[in-house]
């Protein structure tokens, strides 16, 4: 055999062997899901399901779980229609004109109607709420998705994006993204990577609500004007007009239905963001409707319906709840040796005086003069940090390298994709959004890998049937951090505590024999630059970690007043195991990683001082 043919043969054998090895490991990761079958073609869409995934990435129950979510959403939407019908007739008076008496209710109910409207997607099967339901604190509502594919399937099943669904709770409180020169820091914005800046509407949360409807991997509408088009036939159209004064009498061309029924990114639409041909006046009207869509949803998210300040901790601040011994210990650790409140600000001016919880011996002579500086602390600093999380090979986007039935390829880079977070957004990089402030671009290398500091409030929220996120439960399987690497709050706290104690020079799924991933082995960071060293070796004991988890559970809304629509979960709880190793049977080995794609890591200003591997 000629040498060249021999080389080709050898390479083919190696590829097949490698693929077999990889697939076997992936199948192993499905061991708790023996009933897995390829998902049926979703009844809502005219195309075959997009399934580029190796077995085990799409959960075995995805079809039934999607159906459950649609039922739950329809139920809440019907409830919102009843609430709308119960609103008093609007009395618009004053200058500027105001809906006197019922204006707040009107905007909130409108936001709720929009948030739960499944029609706002090409196949009328996906609402904003599809990834955010009340019983999880408005984060991801499907336990099996949280275990296996991290990101949620969009309207075109089963395209999916790259990060966990962030909680709605308190998101309207984030200020407009700015670089504060005095602090030398970025503050504000919405989304893990800050790409919803708020530059135009002066509300990051309102602009956040404008992204998923036209994200190709989420709700997937191809044109923002599709929202105005779908509103023309919405039951609650009159409420939208009453609140905003927008005319929905836009002259849409005859092909609008066909365009809005086509998922974004489809080859047939070309590359334009505005495939619906409108007059300038009608385009302006549709854009105004889209702005008011975002503002309505933001008002709903900021209302007590979602951001309720009704937790045990709020009751404690008001003197109406006594923290248990473990909760109080967790609180002191949160402020003390855990140092959690250096970013997750708890609004108290408490001096760190208690050496039992890791405070300085130098402070022993001080009295705790701490008072409540803020009655509604948000448990975030509105900042960004790279906590050094490992690359999670379960993220669906890594596998979406083939074109779907309409010719769209979500991720041509496969495992050469790296999530640089805020740095990627500042460069207007792949998978982010255009950065509206060019003066920030030089800062990109100093924030590569940084993700938004989420509020710690409601991280622990879980449905009443399985009221914890922690095994053995009965528990609701959530996912934590931007890439869903932690599957319990115990793991999250343990990561902060021991990242640098048990750091190994391996990728996820390859911890050395004799170690257990997430227990005494943390794989290396996906983005090694700008790692936050406030955490990583906190010196907490196992008991102290559990006490911090107990404290986090006091931050769940719904203690002082019932949390609206909290009782809508109709799925199943998980049981058994331990919080420390929760979800570990779904770990899969990271394949050999190619170098970071030049479309991501080769965009100026280049990551540094060291390149991203």
């Amino acid at each position: 055999m000629p040498q060249s043919k021999l080389l080709v043969f050898a390479a083919s054998c190696a590829t097949i062997a490698g693929a077999m090895c990889f697939c076997l490991h992936v199948v192993h990761g499905q061991s708790e899901s023996q009933n897995w079958q390829p998902p049926p073609v979703p009844p809502t869409q005219p195309f075959p399901a997009y399934d580029p995934y190796p077995p085990g990435i799409l959960p075995f129950d995805i079809a039934s779980e999607e159906a459950r979510i649609m039922r739950e959403i329809t139920g809440i939407e019907n409830e919102a229609i009843t609430e709308w019908q119960a609103l008093p007739p609007p009395v618009v008076t004053g200058n500027p004109p105001t809906i006197m008496g019922s204006g707040y209710q009107a905007v909130e109910v409108l936001g709720k109607l929009l948030n739960y409207d499944l029609n706002m997607s090409p196949f009328k099967d996906t609402a904003c709420a599809s990834c955010h339901l009340p019983y999880t604190g408005f984060s991801g509502p499907i336990p099996s998705v949280n275990l296996t594919m991290i990101a949620y399937p969009g309207s075109y099943r089963y395209r999916a994006a790259k990060r966990t669904a962030q909680r709605y709770t308190y998101s309207p409180q984030f200020p407009v993204l700015e670089y504060n020169t005095e602090q030398g820091l970025f503050f504000g914005g919405n989304f893990w990577d800050g790409r919803s800046t708020g530059y135009k509407l002066q509300s990051p949360d309102s602009e956040q609500a404008q992204h998923p409807p036209v994200c190709t991997l989420e709700m997937g509408l191809p044109d923002t004007a599709c929202i105005a088009y779908r509103l023309q036939s919405a039951k609650y159209k009159s409420l939208f007009t009453e609140v905003w004064g927008d005319s929905l009498d836009i002259s849409f061309p005859s092909n609008t239905e066909k365009i809005c029924d086509t998922p974004g990114g489809a080859e047939m639409l070309g590359t334009t963001a505005t495939p619906i041909q409108l007059t300038p006046q009608d385009r302006a009207a549709a854009t105004s409707v889209y702005d008011h869509w975002g503002q309505s949803i933001s008002k709903f998210e900021g209302s007590p319906n979602i951001s309720a300040f009704s937790s045990k901790f709020d009751a404690y601040l008001a003197g109406n709840y006594t923290l248990t011994a473990d909760e109080m210990a967790g609180y002191k650790l949160f402020d003390g040796i855990g140092n959690c409140n250096s970013c997750h600000l708890d609004g108290r001016s408490t001096l760190c005086v208690d050496q039992t919880y890791g405070c300085s011996p130098a402070s022993s002579g001080l009295a705790d003069t701490g008072t409540t500086a803020q009655v509604n602390p948000l448990f975030t600093c509105f900042g960004y940090a790279n906590e050094g999380l490992p690359l999670n090979p379960r993220i669906s986007l890594f596998y979406e390298t083939k074109p779907d039935a309409v010719g769209y390829t979500p991720n041509p880079y496969g495992f050469a994709y790296r999530d640089l977070g805020l740095g990627n957004f500042l460069r207007s990089g792949f998978g982010a959004a255009p950065n509206p402030n060019a003066s920030w671009i030089p800062q990109a290398p100093s924030v590569d890998g940084q993700m938004e500091v989420a509020t710690a409030r409601d991280a622990a929220m879980a449905p009443a049937q399985c009221p914890t996120t922690e095994a053995p439960g009965p528990y609701f399987q959530k996912e934590f951090f931007h890439n869903g690497y932690a599957k319990s709050l115990k793991q999250l706290v343990h990561f902060y505590n021991t990242r640098d104690v048990y750091g190994k020079l391996v990728t996820s799924g390859h911890c050395p024999a004799g170690t257990t991933e997430k227990v005494n082995c943390w794989p290396m960071p996906e983005v090694p630059n700008n790692i936050d060293m406030t955490t990583g070796n906190l010196g907490l004991t196992d008991t102290q970690e559990n006490q911090i988890v107990a404290f986090l559970q006091t931050l769940v809304d719904g203690y002082t007043t019932p949390y609206p629509d909290y009782d809508t979960f109709t799925g199943k709880c998980f049981k058994g195991g331990t919080a420390a190793t929760q979800g570990n049977s779904f770990l899969i080995p990271t394949p050999p990683l190619p170098p970071c794609a030049s479309a991501i890591c080769g965009v100026a200003p280049l990551p540094g001082p060291k390149p991203i591997p």
């Binding site: 300085s360 936050d532 060293m533 070796n537 008991t543």
Partner: protein, 159 residues
């Protein structure tokens, strides 16, 4: 009378501007007051080392200044040429008396002795003023670990 009225209007205008600015900037707290003097009160010591990576830690009194701070290590294999620099983000806790600084140095060579000094600076680039004497550590062979910082025992917080 007119002059008095003008002064009152101007004062009111300036006052309202100040109030507006205060409200606007509430979300972004100003940097904390800087400490008069920053001293290293513990360390620096090696916390962890493997063939390619080392972590050094030290404690100072809380330096104040910007919330985001950098732990800084100047290092090299020659004690007279500490020309390499590693910086790591840490976030000050305004209500702690002390601040723990930690730095990751990666891209190191195995079985090599490194010399270093440590200091710290705010994210505005202003140094805190403290500089340690020259210290040293040696990276282990490939596959080995040095876990120099004592690990906590249950119920006993680290000193």
């Amino acid at each position: 009378m007119n002059r008095m009225l003008l002064k009152m209007v101007m004062a009111a205008a300036v006052g309202s501007l100040l109030i507006c600015n205060a409200a606007f900037s509430q979300a972004v707290p100003k940097p904390a007051k800087k400490a008069a003097h920053v001293d290293i009160i513990q360390g620096p010591v090696l916390e962890f080392a493997r063939e390619d990576l080392a972590i050094v830690r030290w404690t100072t009194n809380n330096p104040g200044g910007t919330d985001d701070h950098f732990s800084v290590v100047h290092y090299g294999t020659n004690p007279k040429d500490l020309s390499q620099t590693a910086k790591s983000h840490i976030r000050l806790n305004r209500f702690h008396q002390d601040t723990l600084f930690r730095v990751r140095m990666d891209g190191l060579s195995p079985k090599t002795t490194y010399y270093y000094t440590v200091t710290s600076e705010g994210s505005d680039g202003k140094g805190d003023g403290e500089v340690s004497p020259v210290n040293q550590f040696t990276t282990p062979a490939s596959g080995e670990l040095v876990q120099a910082f004592p690990q906590p025992q249950p119920g006993i917080p680290p000193k």
